[in-house]
């Protein structure tokens, strides 16, 4: 067992350098989590890596990759109503997929407790948008916990899991990219002796798990009552605290305060350390529901309070409403520009923002001169030898030579990089699995331009199937290229339904045949001439046609080969 895994499952307390994602896993073990389900997506895959590195026979957690985020959520829900503390995790946009199920959860008693962990992505470091899932938390009626560091990830997860079990209410645990990937020393506690009772405890007396029409209202009332309990809890929670690093005194006769959350809170503290000003900070770890008493007390203790949040105006709106209702006269300051509703709040940016309001505390600094040097950009590229490259090369050549004006529709995966030079294949992109639907729409009433769309094999199962079925049903004039590489490559090579690593492989050509696809060809992506022939035939075919361009992900192939070689070497040295 690796040293890392040994530490992970150590029974006693210890302190170690940990990434946020890994600190989360230790917190799961210390909280007695039994079931974890997920779908991969940055910034969260390292959570799975830290679970999977623990040898299965010593791992109290049942972990599995689901087909998509919705299934992952349902899996964790099923485990929770059976009495087992569960976790589901995925990236920010994963919640869009999960939402149809997730919006019901808070109305139903999640008896074992359930924590929904999301990796939001302010700054769009690895996502197609910056969506602020604190909105979704409100719609789902789930309390929101927002850690700002690996240590807080650890302590706040324990608190969230405890609260969830107590109230039988799912909790939204909102991490962000640079919380997931930050590293620091974290002080862990011991792992208690849980009995990990796998007895199925699901029990429905009546319609309490059946929220339809009039049955909704008693359930919704129950959810509101649970949220009220969380509101009370927020008042005494260590996650919500006032920090006064430089003492609290008036500045030019005004008492100043900041209400903030997550990483921006640490940026504020860094600025206060530089500035030395006696400004108080209310750092909110539980950002929904807010406790009005806590907010009003802080506001009333100050003459001016800046609400500093990352992304949308959520705390701003709610705190202003609380202030209005409570006739608070404190001056409330907020971010003035649209530009402030985007990107992350690193210390320099906080300083510049505050210096516009409180120059006596944050002396305005000249903007750093743009460096004079020009540095070549470096775009991510598909690996050398990648089958996607070969397929794009051939298809581009065919389109240029024989079908100019073709509209190409991209999807999400490593192959999204085919949209860039030199291939420029796939010029419109929404989200995972959109390509068939979008291509279908582009084909309506269109007898002039061909439509070609792409999809990866993990995405095929995740959200691709409904769009494909639509194109089969309406026999759309669309050519679908399935780029099959037997893995979920983009996010770090997780298994999927057709990778053969979980159960029996579900074969994509057989699925397509069963769906009634009339034109279906399959070819190795390296065989460019044959691929071109198939593509030509597919594009000339009236109606929906599918070409599977397959080739194993070369990066995974090489890594697996190295791992096998290392394993043989180890085995040999043991034998000797």
């Amino acid at each position: 067992m690796s040293k890392f895994a040994e530490n992970m499952i150590r029974k006693d307390a210890w302190t170690g350098l940990m990434m946020g994602n890994h600190a989360l896993v230790r917190a799961m073990l210390e909280s007695g989590v039994m079931v974890v389900s997920a779908y991969p997506g940055s910034p969260t895959p390292e959570i799975a890596a830290a679970i999977e590195i623990i040898p299965e026979e010593q791992r109290p957690i049942h972990f599995e990759w689901a087909t998509n985020e919705k299934v992952a959520t349902e899996t964790a829900f099923g485990a929770s109503i059976n009495g087992h503390l569960s976790v589901v995790f995925f990236k920010s946009v994963g919640l869009n997929v999960a939402l149809d199920s997730a919006v019901q959860l808070s109305m139903l008693d999640c008896t074992g407790g359930m924590v929904v962990v999301i990796g939001d992505d302010p700054g769009a470091n690895s996502s197609q948008n910056e969506q602020d899932n604190r909105h979704a938390g409100r719609m789902m009626m789930m309390p929101i916990f927002e850690p700002g560091s690996p240590s807080e990830t650890y302590t706040m997860f324990m608190e969230a899991a405890e609260l969830s079990k107590k109230l039988k209410l799912p909790v939204l645990f909102r991490m962000t990219t640079h919380v997931c990937h930050a590293r620091e020393l974290v002080e862990f506690g011991p792992i208690p002796d849980f009995d990990y009772d796998w007895t199925p405890q699901y029990h429905a007396k009546g319609l309490e798990y059946w929220p339809i029409t009039t049955a909704v209202f008693p359930l919704k009332r129950k959810a509101f009552a649970k949220l009220a309990a969380v509101e009370k809890h927020a008042l005494s929670s260590p996650a919500n605290r006032v920090i006064s690093p430089n003492g609290s005194e008036a500045v030019n006769g005004r008492r100043l305060g900041v209400i903030t959350h997550s990483i921006p809170a640490y940026s504020v503290l860094e600025c206060l350390d530089r500035s030395g000003s006696p400004i108080d900070v209310l750092k909110l770890g539980i950002t929904f529901p807010l406790n009005p008493e806590q907010i009003v007390d802080f506001l009333n203790a100050h003459d001016e309070v800046f609400i500093l949040e990352e992304l949308d105006r959520i705390l701003e709106s709610e705190i202003k409403a609380i202030a209005f209702d409570n006739k608070v006269t404190t001056k409330i300051l907020v971010r003035p520009e649209v530009e402030h509703l985007m990107h992350e709040f690193v210390p320099q940016r906080v300083w510049d923002l505050f210096s516009g309001f409180w120059p006596e505390c944050f002396e305005p600094q000249p903007a750093r001169a743009e460096p004079a040097e020009e540095v070549s950009p470096r775009l991510a590229q598909m690996c050398p030898g990648c089958g996607h490259r070969s397929a794009f090369f051939a298809i581009r050549e065919l389109i240029e030579e024989e079908f100019p004006d073709t509209i190409t529709v991209a999807d999400i995966g490593c192959h999204s990089l085919g949209s860039m030079k030199p291939y420029e294949m796939g010029t419109v992109l929404l989200c995972m699995g959109h390509s068939n639907g979008t291509a279908g729409g582009l084909a309506i009433g269109n007898d002039k331009r061909k439509v070609v769309c792409f999809i990866g094999d993990s995405t095929f199962f995740h959200a691709g199937l409904p769009g494909i079925i639509n194109n089969v049903l309406y026999d759309r004039n669309v050519t679908l290229v399935v780029l099959e590489n037997y893995t979920t490559a983009m996010t770090g090579h997780q298994p999927h339904a057709a990778s053969g690593e979980i159960g029996d492989k579900i074969k994509i050509p057989e699925v397509l045949e069963a769906l009634g696809v009339k034109f279906l060809r399959s070819v190795d992506a390296y065989m460019q001439d044959k691929l071109k022939d198939h593509m030509r035939d597919a594009m000339n075919h009236e109606g929906f046609g599918v070409v599977i361009a397959k080739h194993p992900c070369m990066l995974k192939f090489i890594r697996d080969k190295r791992k096998r070689a290392a394993a043989t070497k180890n085995a040999q040295s043991v034998n000797r």
């Binding site: 990937h181 590293r183 210390p347 775009l379 030199p422």
Partner: protein
């Protein structure tokens, strides 16, 4: 003490993770507090990978990311990325230690931009009143050891008081996979001795 900021940069697949892990553990072993953050994401496909390390005392460390223009040390594993690191992150009077590997991005290969000459790095560092240390080993047994070579050179300087060459060597050997330990040590010593 004032915080010491190390900005590590290179291209996906060059082993930045190991490099920053060794440096963090070395600083911890020397009694400092450390915060770090890595960029992950499209690492395997030749994209830019960076890691930020901030070293100091616990009460003075808040966020792991380094403000542009405030890095004391740029550690580069590739020439263009080292150049980008210097230009964007090096403070006035900072240093840069880089392995002179060359990985041309697509823009350079398509003739849209130029790949920097060593002299451009020298000039950029001079303008910032800094120091530049180039690492290159003719007969490096494996390109995956460029990170070890850079560590060896860092170890020859004791840039942060108390983070000695011996501590860095010890952490490297502790973290290296067993099969690569001897080779790593040889490269480490060679790079350490070749200090200019």
């Amino acid at each position: 003490m004032k915080n010491y900021n190390i900005f590590i940069c290179g291209v996906g697949g060059q082993g930045i993770g190991l490099l920053s892990e060794v440096l963090i553990q070395s600083c911890l072993a020397a009694g400092y507090a450390v915060l770090g953050v890595d960029t992950h994401g499209l690492a395997q496909r030749g994209g830019i990978v960076v890691s930020h390390l901030r070293i100091g005392t616990r009460d003075k460390l808040f966020t792991p990311r380094i403000t542009p223009g405030e890095a004391d040390l740029i550690v580069g594993l590739e020439r263009l990325e080292a150049y980008r690191g210097i230009v964007n992150y090096m403070r006035d009077g900072g240093s840069c230690i880089y392995y002179d590997a060359e990985q041309q991005p697509i823009h350079v290969r398509m003739g849209m931009t130029d790949y920097p000459a060593i002299s451009e790095l020298e000039q950029a560092v001079a303008e910032r009143h800094g120091k530049l240390e180039r690492v290159f080993i003719e007969d490096l047994p494996d390109v995956r050891m460029q990170n070890t070579a850079v560590l060896g050179r860092i170890a020859s300087f004791e840039l942060v008081e108390g983070v000695t060459g011996d501590i860095i060597r010890e952490q490297l050997l502790e973290i290296s996979p067993a099969g690569a330990r001897d080779a790593n040590q040889r490269v480490f010593e060679q790079a350490m001795a070749a200090r200019t």
